[in-house]
């Protein structure tokens, strides 16, 4: 049971962390509340499904294709939708909801509402203290860890990372120092969608895919980002891991826990926000305090 909790917690937590980091980056740098973020996750999963199950391409290639195509889709939607109205925060949020609904309805139209499975990249499983762990979950955990490290290296060691952090800290000052704020927003949108697509292509074979699969991760990602403190990368990862482990524990330990997983995670978020409204790693600016 302990192994099951650990593996599932890392699997959920890693997937949510990849999504939450992307969401948090877009929010911090481009000031966009991108509710369609998990929509791209869903699109990525369906692209893997199309490429591998319907067109019969090898799995690695289909994963790669899914990442590239969804990144392009992300950039197109940034240019067409978000870039035009990025001054109005609420409008951007609602447009992104509309975009996610559009993805959902298009996929519903094309594939129907039934659940579909994708074959595992690496078949087989290892048995550990009576619990079967598929190699795919281990692969998903490994890929999540590698991607998160890569993002961390990108942000802390490269010139681009410095530019991103500068824009996140103060848009106007960064713009005056000669950074192209709009282009950095676009780059960050690309990175975040790539992270979402990577998460979906390694995690989707473990779960099943359907056109409503964006809703639950969206809720958890929002909760994780808020829990960790808005705009803090470290906080998002911590929040995602906390919620991932909570979900895995509730699902495995509590009777009928499958229904309660989301509810318990969100209750934790609300309780923490009541104690510490800025989240675990968030910073409160004096003028924003009520």
């Amino acid at each position: 049971m302990l192994v099951a909790i650990l593996v599932n917690g890392l699997l959920y937590g890693g997937t949510y962390a990849l999504l939450a980091v992307g969401f948090s980056l877009v929010f911090g740098v481009a000031k966009i509340v991108n509710m369609s973020h998990t929509g791209f996750y869903m699109v990525g999963a369906y692209l893997v499904f199309i490429a591998s199950s319907m067109m019969g391409l090898p799995l690695l290639l289909s994963g790669l294709l899914a990442v590239i195509i969804s990144a392009l889709l992300g950039l197109i939607s940034y240019k067409l939708c978000f870039d035009r109205i990025k001054e109005q925060g609420t409008a951007v949020m609602i447009v992104s909801v509309g975009l996610a609904l559009l993805f959902q309805e298009l996929l519903l139209l094309l594939f129907g509402g039934s659940y579909k499975g994708i074959s595992h990249f690496v078949p087989g499983f290892v048995t550990m203290s009576g619990y079967q762990i598929s190699y795919q979950s281990l692969l998903a955990i490994g890929v999540s860890a590698i991607s998160l490290t890569a993002v961390w290296l990108l942000l802390s060691k490269t010139m681009l990372g410095i530019a991103i952090r500068a824009v996140a800290e103060d848009r106007e000052a960064a713009s005056l120092m000669g950074f192209n704020v709009s282009r950095i927003g676009m780059i960050i949108m690309g990175i975040s969608v790539v992270l979402a697509a990577v998460a979906s292509s390694v995690a989707a074979p473990v779960f099943t895919i359907n056109p409503l699969m964006w809703l639950h991760p969206l809720v958890i990602v929002l909760a994780a980002v808020i829990l960790g403190g808005l705009g803090s990368i470290k906080g998002s990862v911590a929040g995602a891991l906390i919620l991932g482990f909570t979900e895995s524990m509730v699902t495995l330990l509590v009777p009928k826990g499958g229904y309660l997983g989301g509810a318990v995670s969100l209750s934790i978020m609300i309780v923490i926000l009541m104690i510490r409204p800025e989240g675990l790693f968030g910073v409160v600016f004096e003028e924003e305090r009520l």
Binding site: M93, L101, I226
Partner: protein, 356 residues
């Protein structure tokens, strides 16, 4: 006696008949009142009833989000709680719909106050996410205790509002009219009798400044949450008794997005925006069902309309039309028909650059 009537007529002429927006609203409501008599096929009546219910729901969201700035993404919670409460009162205690709907709305008020407690200290995005969390928590609870709440299937077998659908339509129509009028008055910033409209808008614009001006913002935020929950609850109770089933579908994320979409489409921060949005989008979407392929592309079309409205008319279609037909006098702030060159009250020139 005659004088008194004439006085009222003068008042009506100045306050309503001279303001184009109000004339349109009047015509619309009169038209809506007569429509069921002429077009009484069950499908059309059903669309009218549901549109009326959703209009109350959308306007209640507008009061909370558009006027007070508390953008809630979990408004379906109040709708669902009132529906479930009405269903339980109706099924377990055998109350009639006349009692269960107000009682359900009061339960929604209670839930609204519970939601308001963590939300009071939050703003903007944080607030939106925390309100979004509550319906999902309640869904989990409903599914975990299926004996009392019916679980995934919900509760069914509620008693009907009345025995004729025409009468149902008129009941919903009257309730909608009264609720919308009350909400309009409560949020009217220019009202000289009720101050809440002004205070709500002050909280939306700058909460700290409102606080420093001596407004008890906590009290008024609790008030707006309970009012909004009450009207959403009325809508939820009516819906439960009309459909005769309550289920967890009203707690889904997409259901809570519905009022947001309608209000944004019609115009946020205006009571009429929600009504314009519901009465245009909802019958249109339902009407699509009767066309070949319409049922499949409804969702896609809905999402596309939403995105395009926001990109090209971010203020909403209601505000866009109002700006075309009305102009506000720069001196006395009264509303005039846009074909006028001089204000009907103070004779000031309405636009710069007009001759005469």
């Amino acid at each position: 006696m005659f004088n008194y009537v004439r006085l009222w007529y003068r008042y009506f002429q100045v306050e309503v008949l001279s303001v184009p927006g109000k004339v349109i609203a009047l015509f619309f409501f009169v038209f809506l009142g007569f429509l069921p008599l002429f077009a009484n096929s069950p499908q059309i009546l059903r669309i009218l009833i549901l549109a009326g219910i959703y209009a109350i729901f959308a306007v209640s969201w507008d009061m909370l989000a558009g006027y007070t700035g508390q953008v809630s993404l979990g408004h379906g919670l109040f709708f669902a709680v009132a529906g479930y409460a009405a269903a339980l009162f109706n099924l377990k205690l055998d109350f009639s719909p006349w009692a269960t709907i107000p009682l359900g709305a009061l339960c929604a008020v209670g839930v609204g106050l519970i939601v308001a407690i963590p939300v009071l200290r939050l703003r903007g995005f944080y607030l939106a996410i925390v309100t979004l969390a509550f319906p999902i928590i309640l869904t989990g609870i409903l599914f975990a205790f299926p004996d009392f709440t019916g679980g995934e299937l919900g509760l069914f077998g509620l008693s009907r509002l009345t025995h004729s659908r025409l009468l149902d339509t008129y009941i919903v129509y009257v309730v909608m009219l009264i609720s919308v009028m009350v909400m309009y008055k409560l949020t009217d910033g220019k009202s000289k009798m009720i101050r809440t409209g002004l205070i709500f808008q002050a909280i939306r614009e700058d909460e700290i400044a409102a606080k420093k001006s001596g407004i008890n913002t906590v009290k008024y935020k609790l008030l707006v949450f309970s009012l909004s929950a009450f009207f959403a609850g009325i809508a939820g109770g009516l819906y439960a008794h009309f459909i005769k089933i309550v289920g967890p579908s009203a707690l889904e994320l997409t259901f809570s997005f519905q009022p947001v979409l309608w209000v944004i489409f019609g115009g946020m921060g205006t009571i009429y925006g929600g009504i314009v949005g519901v009465y245009i989008l909802y019958p249109f979407m339902e009407g699509l069902r009767f066309f070949p392929l319409g049922d499949e592309i409804r969702g896609v079309l809905f999402a596309l309309i939403l995105i395009l409205t926001l990109l090209f008319m971010p203020e909403g279609i209601g505000v866009w039309i109002r700006d075309k037909i009305e102009v506000t006098c720069p001196r006395c702030k009264e509303i005039n028909l846009s074909t006028r060159t001089h204000c009907r009250i103070c004779r000031a020139q309405l636009r710069l650059g007009d001759d005469q």
